[in-house]
Symmetry: D2
Subunit: 380 residues, 4 copies
């Protein structure tokens, strides 16, 4: 595993737990974690249960006893590492976003396709697809339970910037983060909407906006929080992204990604409205799916709250009895299951780098549309 | 109409509005309202739209141009007025509780049965049966949609006594109110549970409790509120009633009536659990009914939130389009519709005085059970 | 009252009921209802309780014993009637939309302003402002309880066109209805968002879309429903409107009006996100308001569900005790209260014709933006 | 760890994960798992990550390299193992119920108290106390945020017996399971209610009921499910337990434990009503706590939905960012943290065996009350 921040913790938990609950076709060994700072990465190895630590990712990639490279570094290093790993014949799991630019994502996708010809697998980490309620929503759409998709509303609402005095973390600086709400959380909303509906965003019109232009510089800080200083600096990424998408087949999708919806902590919500039904998902109630079957008698119509904790729901069989909840990190175990299974089966795991590239192109088109007065632009 | 308090306002609204939305088989004229205080009742007549006011109910009952007597006085005068009205050949609508004692209720029921032989109709005012969602719940049970009833939970939760310094209103004095939470709101919970299930409470075990024994005397006050004085007096009715009932057919019902469930304002809730489904109603969301169909596939099970505002739902046809809400007083219009229709059709309206007597007997059995250490007692 | 369709019923109920619960400064007499068809309007008068009926609105407007004209006809006749009534010195209540075109609305506003100089009052009927929870939301924003408004999400979601075989009613024909989802329900979303926030939409970018282009012609039909024939005709209004607005002060608002959000029956929802709090309202739960106070300790943050049924909530004092619900038509009583009070007080009731004109201009700008590839356009 | 069923999986996950997220004062090694069947327990060791497996728990307890014994066997063997382990100087974590009889629980408690004098710790596994929302509810009560406790409603609702043809598993046989809904899930409701309020059940009155007396015998089966045969056998445990408790201090608590509340999968709910506030918890939404602060202005009263996922909430600091959910098994990690911390600190972990004994006494009193016509009985 290359990197060991917040995402490193989540991925480590996935690798650790998945083999305990699922019968994986291959044994998993947590071999080595890589970071720049020798002491920090050694601590991370001890904390998260990796056998070794290292500071030179190139040396690790060159090792024969490494089969899989899991990339959880910031987006600006994804391309270099992933391409090198694929060329070295390692299966690659790369955290989202696939890259910070479309060009990088294209190079990665090309490398992934060439590697695939040699049986080398690659996947990008949109783990919310693997929340059982989201996977089950996809299954219901695929089974025709809501008919033709007419409208989609996808939003990812957070509020940690509502306070104008929240400090200027690296996530608010374009040179570090690449993007603001759009790339960080909007990407999830797009991926989940496409995954559930099976449709693609083909054209977009939108606006990116920085609602609070200056914030206190951070005196020191780790992760999302930190201590504010008395000086102020410019926020160089978007606080809010509002955009509309035309989906393959003609349906309309409306998107919102924001860190300013006060009171909404982690509300990744997708509602899909079809000709014979509808589905509504909210990550803040991730064990539930709202399903509306429009073919019921008029007097019995209503959204039903399905607890997606039944043995027959996706991924649920090895977990707990009915009505016992799963949490955030379970998606990382499911990701391990799917990735390892695809490696063993010789099939292409999804979302592929190509899927990740598509999301990057949607993000890029939204950004250009915003620069051109919300003009409608093709995604490709 | 005899009486003109809070219930008088609600009944007046029912008489006024029902003929505007429903095609009643008989024309309604709001003739005369009766009260003890001439000025107050004249004001009430003007305010609530009655053609005349009067102070002598016996004289009004004797009038030939009066066909219907609507009794909304406190419970201790129901028996005398209702029996006199029935004997005078007037159809009688009597607000709940039917009476303050079982003996009075028995006399009223006997009078009602004799009057019925002469085509005179009588009904008791459990209007929550006529909230469309509650009526529809009854319909679903009757249609077998939840199978055999196994368990019932019925509760009526309020919180206006949570504050130990809330004043000692007449509703907290046994000689005035007859009963506390049990008779005032528990009666509704029993009636609604029986109505929806079609079953009867046959045996009970329970406890009545006064949680705050002394309260400030009221300096002055109207209705539920008032100003507290510095002296204190004893609360002589129950604050909370908890009881279990054995229903006809064997199912168990658990009841709670309380004015101490902090934060619950008017939560009359009934949940019926059956062998193939379940229903859940909450008066605080009176336009909704939760319905669970256990015959759905395992993965699609869930309570569905039905907005009971469709044209084909009970009582809904003449009201507003789908998704437009009804409120508290609409039940009083529906009560007028059902009562006037029964008079015109020559059928027995429900709940009959006999139904009201049964509720009184349940209340009485609960009170006796509480006095005997929660012993199980037969209702009759 | 000119007109007697669905809105005529609602307005009639407002005129009938308001004086019974509120102490109005002027007595209300329901004098005459006007319609084209003599028999139909006579029936309406009897049904809704108007003393007379008439077929010539000009003659009615000319009568000295008429003080107020209430216009509930389709939008294309509003301008002619309202201007004539104002010129005749009648106070005018005009149902929304103010008019079908901006030009008409401008003429009406000019007439209203001239009339106001003579003490003649005029108001447009956005009654959802008068749902107590909505009014209270406005009060909380005005009192600074959510700080500076940062983002607004306003949507009006219905689903009666989800079925592609729903018939082609007059509401789907531009020459009759003027507009589709945008004007019919989107207007409410705009008005309510502006009312609650106290801000104005200044610029817009959006798209209107007809998702189902052809539908079965109606063989016969009344109101929203009807019987489909085997022939098909073109839908000439929008099914969906998605647009973004820049509010005065700089906040962003995202709007959606649609008849294709399957399972959503009448979901007029406004969520306002501020620097120190947030509010969320949904007409499908119209007696509730969700309020988030961001100044609470971190561990106690959360949206609270306020039952807006307290004596001290707007409009609530004369209604029922705490926890007893109001319904759709209560807003029409509140409208009567506010209008009659303004007439008696000699103040300008809101929303004024000028407010209605502003809404028309927003609608017009959205329509033009849609025609120009979602370009950002000024509202004026 | 002695035993390796469903609870063994959950406990193993707790031991495995806790050290990765929390800084424990002692290192944890998962040494040996014990079971009767050598092959099955060897498989369990491999699956759940224990270094060794064994079949003789006495031999394991005798080992010097074992510090902690975790008992997850059925209740009838708890006493023998726990007492032996304590006598051997091992710290003991014992899954609930502490024992199947009060006598056994008394012996265990005595052994625990003697062991405590030598610094040996023991704890019983009511893990729902360690769901952060439940722990936080306890903190709010302890901090006086809801004032004096007046009423408690505690219920644990499941529905897996609603179907009368569900097979006769060992959980429905008194000789195997000891108790039905009362001991299996009612125990959790009692413990959680006592934990949150800090009060004790002192007297009880209740009824146990078997709603479906005969069920198909199981042909074969594992865990909660299995295949039904054509023969039928008697259900010898309770399906439903309804009881009322008098709490220390005088408050009333109403309890329900049932496997017949159709549609409720795992609804352990506790609502505590106090003089200045209220709290409501539902395990089906385990990351949320409803909190009502009655000291707010009348117009701003309402239950607020707190997402208990903030850094400052109990147990949350080492987990994920705000708004990321925890699941069922996280409570087992928290249990490990608390148990290991108490061992290192030399303090008594809670719930102690004495706490577990008290719960057994409440269960016993309920059972006896049921046998004596719901008579009120003292718990001791």
């Amino acid at each position: 595993m290359i990197g060991h921040g917040f995402m490193g913790a989540a991925h480590s938990q996935g690798w650790r737990v998945a083999p305990r609950f699922f019968d994986l076709p291959r044994a998993v060994e947590m071999a080595v974690v890589v970071g720049r700072n020798a002491q920090a990465v050694a601590d991370a190895a001890a904390k998260w249960g990796w056998a070794e630590s290292a500071t030179d990712w190139r040396a690790v990639i060159a090792r024969d006893d490494i089969d899989v490279v899991d990339i959880v570094t910031p987006g600006d290093s994804h391309a270099e590492i992933a391409i090198a790993a694929l060329q070295a014949g390692k299966h690659v799991l790369c955290e989202k976003p696939l890259a910070n630019t479309v060009a990088e994502a294209e190079a990665m996708t090309e490398a992934a396709e060439r590697a695939a010809e040699r049986g080398i697998r690659s996947m990008v980490g949109f783990t919310y697809r693997r929340v059982p309620a989201a996977t089950f929503a996809r299954d219901l759409v695929a089974a025709g339970r809501i008919g033709d998709v007419r409208q989609v509303r996808a939003e990812y609402l957070q509020d940690w910037l509502s306070d104008a005095d929240a400090p200027l973390t690296w996530r608010l600086q374009k040179d570090r983060a690449g993007s603001g709400s759009l790339g960080d959380i909007g990407a999830h909303a797009i991926d989940l909407a496409e995954y559930i509906t099976g449709l693609h965003v083909e054209r977009v019109s939108g606006i990116l906006e920085t609602l609070v232009a200056e914030r206190p510089l951070m005196a020191e800080g780790i992760g999302l929080s930190g201590t504010a200083s008395s000086e102020r600096g410019a926020v160089t990424v978007d606080d809010v992204a509002l955009f509309t998408g035309r989906l393959s087949g003609g349906a309309l999708a409306s998107f919102e990604a924001t860190r300013f919806r006060t009171g909404r902590k982690n509300a990744l919500r997708v509602e899909v409205s079809g000709s014979t039904g509808a589905l509504s998902f909210d990550l803040e109630r991730m064990n539930e799916l709202e399903f509306y079957d429009a073919t019921a008698p008029d007097t019995e119509l209503g959204f039903r709250r399905i607890l997606v904790t039944e043995h027959d729901h996706p991924y649920l069989a090895p977990w707990w009895p009915t009505g016992h909840m799963l949490g955030y990190e379970h998606g990382f175990s499911h990701q391990v299951v799917d990735f390892v299974t695809a490696i063993a089966d010789g099939t292409q795991p999804r979302p592929s780098f190509g899927d990740g590239l598509h999301i990057q192109r949607v993000l890029d088109a939204v950004e250009r549309s915003s620069e051109h007065g919300s003009a409608w632009l093709d995604v490709e």
